[in-house]
């Protein structure tokens, strides 16, 4: 391939950055006239922000309109982000990856970059996180020369995947995840190519969302293109080009100064977990991270020990992991800097090739990008400890929720073919912080301004109707400050004779750990009730259940509705047909807790109980708080109960040395549960460094190998329970 001017420009830039260790060595635009410099920046930010707002009004997809799963940005000719709108932060970098991929792969020569061209991409190995993340970029041409790119991204609720809705918990390869269009030119001369719309119409269950999202993104990027051309006319092309690059270097410098100012230097280690629930191949996935806060203000982030990639969708691509780290550091550390490529330059990532954060080929599915999300969030835990040591407790937090939700497809209540997922999980319970409880039903880490959307809107686009949408009582991890409780919804199937319902979640694990003595948020789960008596209940005017109630072992709706129930631990369900009046649940996920729960202010426990956010059982068992019948704190009873809990701890625990000796003996003599044994085998076979660490810690012989116990009940196999009354047999 002959070198095109842009490709040469990109290679030269990369060589220059490597040689000089920074994006630019001098900032003349900033230094000569800082006001003009900031003025252009604020106008550029205004430009991408306007594009973000207008695009939301153009799309017909609730993800874009209601939930704000959108982001827009302006990029340099070589594809580095200069300014970004608010929104789906993880994708500021993934669009950059797309532009660079096109430049590297000769697109400048063919199909070419002309004014009015629009390129589409949803291939996560090029840029993006999974098939639903769809980006469009257009070149900005000035006097025949490409001087920048405008880009926009939305998350579409249907991709034409094997299961409806794009989140496929049992995908074995990329080819089950939907329609991929890797860097395809979808418009020329600002006109959408009709044949490519037909391609979408014939490959996706609900093309309306995808196609109106395309219009939304095209509107947004065209707005950016035109406004940037006006700004170039106003400021001059030389100034625009110089200042755009200076913003990146400026951020890189500011980011390092920030690290030096607020984080304690040192080495931090955290670990996160996800799991593949593929039937017969259930295994835990390992997501360790080591963060080193350097004295020079760099963050070295090392993911050595990540599980190897596998034939399951609970892994992510390298652009995803980079985007997630960027997302975490922007939200927790660089929140008030100019958000651009300079942020990522301050972090230096090590992600092993072939791992579940950097799969060896594009065949590996990534629909749920699980372990990369876990490992990205674990980076945030490390930052929290570094903040804590510098005294900035207001920035310390436990882990964010892992979200889960339902998918649906078939014929909708208007008689049209459809597929979509409900995205109310964007309002999960937030993490507890070092100084206050996590917010309930508040948000998720991957989109800081996501929201749950109106129930009525979900009922417009999806046939199921809400029986209940409540705060998930006791969902958040317990702690001195508790994690936020997420949303828990109970749905009834209605209005469609051809509907299948699926769900995506995790393995039956704790996905949102606590911090410094706090407990993790509870595991994810889903109830499905079939052959119900809801029709009779509704016709009789009886009260319908309004939620889970006080006892998650026996939810109120299970007692109130006669049905054949299935409980799915981890909430992964392959889409299967349902009938009208069937019932199912979904939960958004909850945040991790902070600190020892028996140090929680008893008055806060009493207030939670009064507000329906906790239960008496939890108050007593977990928080050691005795409450009178009127809900008031029994101070003396609480003091005694907490003293008893402390004594119990001292009695049941082992000194660490004794515990280690016992576990070592178990590792030598006993098999490990199948999902765990497979994880150790995978990781130790993949990472010699981690194998060495493991064997040294337990003082095990070099030839030690995990032994696998007989597999237990797989999470894909539901626990069954019937509350249907015995059928009366008519012998007449």
């Amino acid at each position: 391939m002959s070198d095109t001017p842009l490709r040469q420009q990109l290679l030269e830039l990369e060589a220059r950055i490597a040689a000089q260790g920074c994006y630019l060595t001098e900032l003349p635009a900033r230094e000569s006239d800082p006001i003009r410099y900031e003025l252009l920046n604020s106008k550029l930010v205004e430009t991408v922000t306007s594009a973000h707002e207008v695009a939301r009004l153009v799309s017909a997809s609730p993800m874009t309109r209601e939930l704000g799963e959108v982001i827009f940005g302006l990029y340099t000719p070589e594809g580095d982000a200069v300014v970004l709108s608010r929104g789906l932060l993880i994708h500021i970098h993934t669009m950059s990856r797309m532009i660079k991929w096109m430049i590297r792969n000769g697109y400048e020569e063919s199909p070419g970059f002309r004014h009015g061209d629009y390129y589409f991409n949803n291939d996560p190995y090029i840029g993006g996180a999974h098939c639903p993340d769809q980006m469009i970029v257009t070149p900005i041409i000035h006097e025949g020369r490409l001087v920048g790119w405008a880009g926009g991204l939305t998350h579409t609720p249907e991709t034409g995947s094997s299961d409806p809705g794009g989140f496929v918990p049992f995908a074995r390869s990329r080819f089950e995840e939907g329609l991929f269009l890797p860097c395809v030119k979808i418009a020329e001369n600002d006109e959408i190519k009709r044949d490519l719309e037909v391609l979408v119409e014939r490959n996706v269950r609900s093309p309306l969302y995808w196609l109106t999202d395309n219009r939304a993104k095209m509107t947004g990027v065209r707005m950016i293109r035109e406004q940037v051309r006006e700004l170039i006319a106003e400021f001059g092309i030389e100034y625009f080009t110089q200042a755009s690059r200076e913003y990146i270097e400026d951020t890189y410098r500011a980011a390092r100064r920030r690290v030096q100012a607020v984080l304690a230097p040192g080495r931090y280690r955290e670990v996160s977990w996800r799991g593949s629930v593929m039937p017969g191949e259930e295994r835990l996935l390992h997501g360790p991270v080591e963060v080193t806060v350097r004295r020079d203000g760099h963050l070295d982030i090392d993911f050595t020990g990540l599980s190897p990639a596998g034939r399951h969708p609970f892994q992510g691509t390298l652009p995803t992991l980079e985007g997630l780290v960027m997302n975490v550091v922007i939200q927790h550390l660089f929140y008030d800097l100019k958000h651009n490529e300079g942020v990522l330059m301050a972090t230096r990532l090590k992600v092993p090739e072939g791992s579940a954060g950097n799969p060896p080929s594009f065949i590996y599915p990534t629909a749920l990008w699980g372990i990369t999300y876990g490992a990205g969030l674990a980076t945030g835990q490390a930052l929290s400890r570094a903040y804590y040591a510098r005294g900035y407790r207001e920035e310390v937090h436990a882990t964010s929720a892992l979200s889960t939700g339902y998918t649906a497809g078939g014929t909708d209540h208007y008689g049209r073919p459809f597929g979509a997922h409900n995205f109310e999980f964007a309002a999960a319970g937030l993490f507890a912080t070092g100084v206050m409880d996590g917010l309930d039903t508040a948000g998720v880490e991957f989109n800081p301004e996501g929201e749950m959307g109106d129930a009525e809107i979900w009922e417009q686009i999806l046939p199921p109707v809400y029986l209940a949408r409540e705060i998930h009582v006791d969902g958040g991890g317990f702690g001195k400050y508790r994690g936020g409780n997420g949303v828990f919804s109970v749905y009834m199937v209605a209005g469609s004779d051809d509907l299948e319902i699926g769900s995506f979640g995790s393995a039956p694990i704790f996905s949102a750990p606590g911090l410094m003595g706090g407990y993790p948020a509870g595991a994810l789960y889903m109830w499905v009730g079939s052959r119900t008596n809801l029709k009779q209940l509704i016709e009789s005017g009886a009260a319908l259940p309004a939620g889970e109630g006080d006892n998650p072992e026996r939810p109120a709706f299970v007692d109130a509705i006669e049905a054949d129930w299935e409980l799915i631990r981890g909430a992964n369900r392959l889409a299967r047909p349902v009938e009208n009046f069937d019932v199912f649940t979904a939960m958004s996920g909850d945040g991790g807790g902070f600190g020892d729960p028996i140090e929680r202010d008893p008055a806060a426990v009493a207030a939670d109980l009064a507000n329906g956010l906790t239960t008496r059982w939890t108050a007593e068992h977990v928080y050691g708080v005795m409450l009178g019948e009127d809900g008031a704190v029994d101070e003396e009873g609480t003091r005694q109960l907490r003293a008893w809990i402390r004594r119990e701890r001292l009695e049941r625990a082992l000194p660490a040395a004794e515990y280690r000796a016992r576990v070592r003996e178990e590792l030598l003599t006993q098999p490990l549960p199948a999902p765990v044994s497979r994880m150790y085998r995978d990781v130790m076979g993949f990472s010699p460094e981690w194998r060495k660490h493991f064997l040294e810690f337990w003082n095990l012989p070099d030839d030690w190998e995990p032994r696998e116990a007989e597999p237990g009940r797989p999470p894909s196999e539901p626990i069954r329970l019937s509350t249907r009354r015995p059928v009366e047999v008519n012998h007449a």
């Binding site: 039956p508 750990p513 810690f697």
Partner: protein
């Protein structure tokens, strides 16, 4: 650069600030004197003669002893030894089957075939210092090894 009074920061540490007051702290630039101020507050509260070098996490501090050694100490006074080794090696450990029905009920517990909980307590005061979410047989996680001298360099540089 904002500056906060000692009572304000003492209120922060004690969790007595309202969400609105916290938001002010989060929106302002960070006060460069915070680390020293927090150490001063904690030093006074604990009444230790040995200086606190690092507030490591809830309950735990790295202190410098008269003999020059630096050890991890709980606020109850229990010493966990050299800060360069994981304090967890000198803690009490309880491995909890999450489905034991004591903390999580019903489906909210992780399956013990996938995850267990490892609770670390202070042998002196029984405070729960950490809860690890791990599978069986996982090595202890050494969460934080501070680069103490680098921190001092930063202090001097201000």
């Amino acid at each position: 650069m904002p500056e906060y009074s000692k009572p304000q920061i003492a209120d922060l540490l004690a969790g007595r600030l309202s969400p609105e007051e916290l938001q002010v702290l989060q929106r302002q630039e960070k006060d460069p004197g915070r680390e020293a101020l927090v150490r001063e507050i904690e030093q006074e509260r604990l009444g230790w003669a040995e200086p606190i070098l690092v507030c490591l996490q809830q309950h735990l501090y790295v202190v410098e002893n008269p003999d020059g050694t630096r050890t991890v100490r709980c606020d109850c006074g229990h010493d966990f030894g050299d800060y360069r080794r994981n304090w967890k090696d000198n803690a009490l450990v309880y491995e909890r089957d999450p489905s034991d029905g004591m903390i999580y009920r019903g489906p909210r517990a992780a399956d013990p075939d996938w995850n267990i909980l490892r609770e670390f307590y202070c042998p002196g005061c029984a405070a729960q210092l950490d809860v690890e979410v791990v599978p069986r047989g996982y090595p202890f996680v050494f969460n934080f090894l501070p680069d103490i001298d680098a921190g001092e360099e930063n202090d001097n540089g201000r």
